[in-house]
């Protein structure tokens, strides 16, 4: 028989996350309604928050930047078959290092590169430990989550002591010197940080797709057994992958610090490390797709405040939009994998 029996049309894998996001928007609609606002109005406000003005666009990009960088920091180890759930701790580490450097010196033109490099290095060290521990049988999911706690509580501890700005009524560090700050352009709206993100995206894409190291990490992500047989050192490669991932997440922290908040407090991150995991998952471990998904979640986050302020809706509603696509995507991929095992057998 011919064409007719090729089976029903399948949704291409890459389209699944996009469809899942659309589905999650549908899921949210009745909840917005229950919350007391018309859902059309809700989505309009959400949209206006980011696209209503140049200021909106700027704050949208600003909230997306950490997601792009931390998202890459999760996606890269994901290629090598590793789950970096430590984005949160790694970005805090990066920001913390940035604060120490940024408050200790005056800075100057191009000085921001120093905290960038230092943040990358220190967060990479944190990631590397998690990757290296895997060789000793400690799963990276467990270790990276534990590192999140260590980083967070170290931060709050430091904020009780020398790190705290004595002039502030609340616990936050002193602000980084002007000479280290990453500014904005186009009427002081658009963060220069987007250029850093572009460079990093390009660099990681090249690394992953066009280098031998990237190829080896990809093979490792496909099969440990094949990797070993190809002479790939598991422990070393995993350490490298997690180090790179940690470093990228650390960059996310320091770019946010130098470009937006300038200080670090206990609420520095609204959970970017975890949202970035969602971003990387939807991007299916590929580098470039991290960008649109990060922009989408940045858009949600940016609108969250407006939903609260103008419509009086609980901001947590937006978290449903973060969580729902993950569940839908996981279910679809799980189902496809199941069908594949059933159909292919041995």
């Amino acid at each position: 028989m011919s064409a007719g029996s090729r089976g029903r049309a399948r949704v291409p894998d890459a389209a699944v996350p996009v469809l899942a996001i659309l589905a999650s928007l549908v899921v949210l609609a009745p909840l917005v309604q229950i919350g007391g606002a018309g859902f059309a109005e809700g989505y309009k406000e959400l949209f206006k928050a980011s696209f209503g003005s140049m200021v909106g666009v700027g704050s949208w990009l600003t909230s997306s930047l950490p997601l792009v960088l931390v998202g890459l920091g999760v996606a890269l180890p994901y290629r090598a078959g590793l789950f970096n759930l430590g984005g949160e701790g790694q970005l805090l580490t990066g920001a913390l290092v940035g604060v120490y450097i940024g408050t200790a010196f005056g800075g100057g033109p191009g000085a921001f590169l120093l905290p960038l490099v230092a943040a990358f290095g220190s967060a990479a060290a944190l990631g590397a430990v998690a990757g290296w521990l895997k060789a000793w049988g400690m799963h990276e999911i467990v270790t990276t989550i534990m590192f999140n706690f260590i980083a967070f509580f170290s931060l709050t501890f430091l904020l009780r002591g020398g790190l705290k700005d004595p002039d502030l009524p609340y616990a936050a560090s002193r602000a980084v010197s002007d000479g280290f700050r990453i500014g904005r352009f186009a009427g002081d709206d658009i963060p220069y940080g987007i250029f850093i993100a572009l460079v990093v995206v390009a660099a990681t894409t090249c690394l992953v797709d066009y280098t031998r190291l990237g190829w080896r990490l990809g093979v490792l992500g496909q099969s440990d057994a094949v990797a070993v047989r190809q002479g790939i050192n598991l422990a070393r490669s995993r350490t490298v992958a997690m180090a790179l991932g940690g470093g990228l997440a650390g960059l996310g922290g320091v770019v946010e610090l130098l470009g937006n908040q300038y200080r670090i407090g206990a609420h520095f991150s609204p959970g970017w490390g975890y949202i970035a995991f969602v971003v990387a998952l939807l991007a299916r471990g590929k580098m470039l797709p991290v960008v649109p998904f990060a922009l989408y979640f940045g858009f949600l986050q940016n609108g969250e405040v407006r939903l609260q302020a103008i419509l009086g809706l609980p901001g947590n509603l937006v978290l449903i939009l973060v969580a729902a696509p993950v569940i839908i995507v996981a279910a679809v991929y799980g189902f496809q994998a199941y069908r594949r095992t059933v159909r292919v057998g041995t």
Partner: protein, 535 residues
């Protein structure tokens, strides 16, 4: 089924039934695995399904046992149309299948496995145990229901699965390549068992690559090629073997080696050392065991065990340039460990492997991946199922030799097409995921990759396992050609004729030791003697 226990004494032969398949189609993407198959299986007779890799034998069986759903076609049992959606439907029709690798859970006992499959935990175990033993007895062998599966041999497991099927009143037992995993003696007893089954009215369907086996053990043979039935034979008829070979492989060139196997292998005869076509180019020097070429690979006093395997004891081997060193022995005597050792994926506790006089461990991975070709016994060690054919072909190159820039990727993708045709890999295209390929074709992907890099050392571990005769013959000639081009080859196999045909010298492994190396007058008897040696 509950009534079974009421039968007293020997059960009378079962009512012979008939399973008829008409117009069965099953496609995977563009691959037509089954392309309109018509075949009839009858109770009380042995039916062989014969064909090359990828001919559609396994697919047909999976359609009949509910693993796959056919795209179209009819299946009838005694004229009544049945729909087989899942394995349970197939069992209900009285069809039982014995897979090549046992589906029993290894940490449970046989009885526990039976209870598990019966799905009725309330059933009294002893009753099931009795029935299992009874089934075994009626088929002519003893069975211990309390034996743990992991302690049984492959042959025991097959018999146990057959007994289980018999106990469950199956009237048709389908065996997927049952003899591929059996030692010669166990093969004979399996064929005896076929006799007992048919005497009880049970039909047997077995899949095989072996022409001789199909002809001698079945009363009916169906030959499949490219998803279609291309021949039907009944016992008693005069069979033109040449003709049959042509049916199987589907081209007009005669394959002398195939026919040779059917008429009793001349290679097995004593004092008939390898007279392979490839050797002539090397002259007579090779069997002279001295000046055939310098030693390029040396294993010196290796002892130790990898985490996953058995121990090697004081293994010493030397492989010369242009030489194929066969490693014979019953599987599990250290071959996998030797293969991991020689490819550098395992470093022993003591001793070393020298490649051109330098320890293999001192070579950096890029050098090693260039110099050592690795064809492991399991394709899961060498191919990534989710990656495409071309990516798998470029796996080692892009990992170590050259950066996978867009230009080089395009280049490799194009050259992959050449390898696909040169090594006759049946695939929908170079972009198809390797998991869509049949086992034999996955192995061809590995061979294409490893042979095309012209390694100094090729480690081939059971490279022809699961391949049909023609493919196996091809593999041996590729390997031979590689050696004639100056590579050193270590060739492991459990088939002695194969070893003798392809090797210049033969080492025999017993319990992790090399019990001896034969360099002249290599015969089955000589190898057999070494296999029996225990130090």
């Amino acid at each position: 089924m509950g009534a079974a226990t009421d039968h007293a004494g020997p059960v009378t032969a079962r009512e012979p039934s008939t399973l008829a398949v008409t117009g069965l189609h099953k496609h995977f993407g563009r691959v037509r695995a089954n392309d309109g198959i018509d075949v009839t299986f009858r109770g009380g007779e042995v039916h062989a399904l014969l064909g090359e890799n990828g001919a559609g034998k396994s697919t047909l069986i999976k359609c009949l046992t509910g693993v796959y759903r056919p795209d179209s076609g009819r299946v009838t049992v005694d004229g009544r149309e049945v729909t087989i959606r899942e394995p349970a439907d197939s069992r209900e029709c009285g069809i039982a299948v014995v897979h090549q690798s046992s589906t029993l859970i290894s940490r449970l006992t046989l009885l526990e496995n039976v209870v598990l499959q019966e799905g009725r935990l309330g059933r009294i175990r002893s009753e099931l145990a009795d029935r299992l033993v009874d089934s075994g007895n009626r088929l002519g062998f003893a069975i211990d229901p309390k034996a743990r599966v992991e302690n049984l041999s492959v042959g025991d497991l097959q018999r146990a699965e057959i007994a289980r099927a018999f106990m469950q009143e199956a009237w048709l037992v389908i065996l997927d390549e049952p003899t591929a995993v059996l030692a010669p003696a166990e093969r004979a007893s399996l064929f005896d068992l076929f006799g007992s089954l048919t005497a009880q009215g049970v039909g047997v369907v077995f899949v095989t690559h072996h022409l001789a086996e199909a002809l001698s053990e079945s009363s009916r043979t169906t030959v499949l090629r490219a998803g279609r039935v291309v021949g039907r034979l009944e016992s008693g008829h005069q069979v033109d073997e040449q003709e049959l070979v042509r049916l199987i492989v589907g081209d007009d060139a005669p394959h002398p080696s195939l026919v040779g196997e059917v008429s009793g292998s001349p290679l097995g005869a004593p004092d008939a050392p390898r007279t392979g076509e490839g050797a002539s180019s090397d002259g007579a020097g090779i069997d002279g065991a001295g000046d055939a070429g310098e030693v390029r690979v040396e294993v010196r006093g290796v002892s130790g065990a990898p985490l996953w395997g058995r121990a090697l004891h004081n293994v010493d081997l030397a492989i010369r340039r242009g030489e194929v060193l066969g490693v014979a022995g019953v599987e599990g005597n250290g071959q996998r460990e030797l293969s991991a050792l020689l490819t550098g994926s395992w470093s022993p506790d003591s001793g070393s492997v020298l490649l051109d006089g330098r320890p293999l461990a001192d070579y950096l991975p890029p050098e090693r991946s260039k110099l050592v070709g690795d064809v492991p016994d399991d394709h899961f060690l060498a191919t990534c199922g989710e990656l495409s054919v071309w990516e798998n072909l470029a796996l080692g190159t892009f990992a170590w030799q050259e950066a996978p820039t867009p230009g080089r990727k395009a280049l490799r993708r194009r050259s992959a097409a050449d390898l696909v045709s040169e090594f006759d890999i049946r695939t929908a295209g170079v972009n198809a995921a390797v998991r869509q390929l049949s086992g034999g074709n996955r192995r061809r992907v590995i061979l294409a990759r490893e042979l095309s890099k012209h390694p100094v050392l090729l480690v081939a571990t059971y490279p022809t396992r699961g391949l049909d005769v023609r493919s196996a013959e091809q593999v041996r000639s590729w390997v031979r050609r590689l050696a004639d081009g100056g590579s050193s080859v270590v060739y492991m196999s459990t088939e002695l004729e194969e070893i003798i045909e392809v090797s210049d010298r033969v080492a025999v492994m017993v319990r992790g030791r090399v019990s001896g190396v034969l360099s002249e007058a290599i015969t089955i008897g000589g190898i057999g003697n070494l296999m029996l040696q225990e130090r």
